[in-house]
Amino acid sequence: MATVEYKGKTFQVDEDGFLENLDQWCQEWVDYVKESEGIKELNDDHWKVINMLQDYYKKNGIAPMVRILSKVTGFKLKYIYELFPSGPGKGACKMAGLAKPTGCV
């Protein structure tokens, strides 16, 4: 199993660098993904997306459709991409500690 070391913490990740277990998710993980995704600063809207993704995932065991993310947060698709340039299914899910979405992603 691959691991990522960051700021004194060790994270177990899958083959694509997504967290193995949401229980490991913490501020250091967010900082690590932020850096690797090239996001300068996180604002409240980033957190709104992260929180929504986690809530949905805990309830449903899978990442939500972008439509649901947009509906709950009130953010337009274009803005979600401004927040997470590699996309909601990749960068945002990774930062929120979700597993890599399955299928053709």
Binding site: E20, N21, G61, V66, R67, T102, C104, V105
Partner: protein, 466 residues
Amino acid sequence: MPEGILCNRTPINTKEQLDAVLADKGGKQYYQEMEHLDVDVEKLQKTLQDTCKSRIRTWLEMCAHCGLCADSCFFYLANKKDPTQVPSYKIITTLGKIIEKNGNVDTAHMIKCMDTAWGKCTCCNRCGSFCPYGIDMGVMFSYLRGLCFSQGFVPWEMKIGSGMHRVFRAQMDVTPEDWVETCEWMVEEQQDEWPGLEIPVDKEGADILYTVNAREPKHYPEDIAEAAILFHIAGENWTVPSIGWEQTSLTMFAGDWEGCKMQVQTVFDAIERLKPKRVLGTECGHAHRGTVVEGPYWVGREDGRPPVPYIHYVEWLAEALRTGKIKIDPDKRIKVPVTLQDSCNYVRNHGLKDVTREIMSYIVEPGYFIEMYPNKEYNFCCGGGGGLNGIGRYRQWRNTGMKVKRDQIIATGAKLVIAPCHNCWDAIRDLEEVYEIGIKWSFLKPLIIKMAIIPDHLKPQEEEEE
């Protein structure tokens, strides 16, 4: 252990079963159970008797072990010419052994078959182009996948993909209601920039019925908006079905033959219901192969064709450019070195090599388009086809295999790779992430929107008043 709770011979048919397998993150329990999953020899023998006809048996018998297929395989080349990666070796030691022993094989052999069929072959069919006897290992590996699936030896993500199709008639958890709502949402979000934009749902008798890849509504809805914008610019009379909108087939990648038929039937039912003049699929390779090339046979259509002509996006786009429905602003053509990824599934497997070049002639400034070598029907797989992109178990194998595509791209000097196929697009994105060769990658739709001449009557009001 006869069968596991998660890893077993029963396909996923309910949401509860699907949730249980999904909850096993990364398939840890699933693969542990697989180690103890017995082979149902009697069932395997029956499957062989019913489905393994003379073609495959003859191919296996006539292979002269000449090795001419070796250099055709990107896995063989990327793995420093490892003899165990020679296509003929890979199929003879897996499917060949099952047939030779008439299904009397053990669990370890079936796991070897699975790891070979999904981890060392993308069913790109390139080797078949070089065999002097015309033996098609890609077809045989697809068949082997079917045998593996029927016995429960299928990668975790493929089991889920097949289950998604069976439960949702889509490779992801998108219901017809979710799909229609996403279309409405995309129209709403585009109104400022594209007033009057529509995505007509279930319109009967339209010129075009448009079908997509489930990842578009699930993760990349901009793709749907872009398709709508280009139909809008071209003035097409088009529609999408509320049911039967999903064109892809992870069931095909999974070797789930029954699921393949169910999925394609859903799309063909939509065609029969809405009676379009023709159907057009998104920029996806395997969706085309699954629904247009192979699908008609799965559902038993005697003529081997879909109910009405069913074309790939690149065919429609080339036609729209050729007929002037979409006009390109010459000043906005691509002026960086650019190359094109030929999708195995609609180029090698369906001959669409010239229309993509025709598109390049409209959108790239002369002198900037550079072919990969080899190309067209001899192009190498992106490295992630056949479902491989989505299977974590083989991630390192895929990344090694992608070196061939990486080196092909580097040799062109291109800074942009146009990949009109979701799978190729993903593989090239991941290739850049792993090897950092300094390229960008794109589908055709977003590029065309940036360079198309927009008719005045389609521009927002404010712009007209200026």
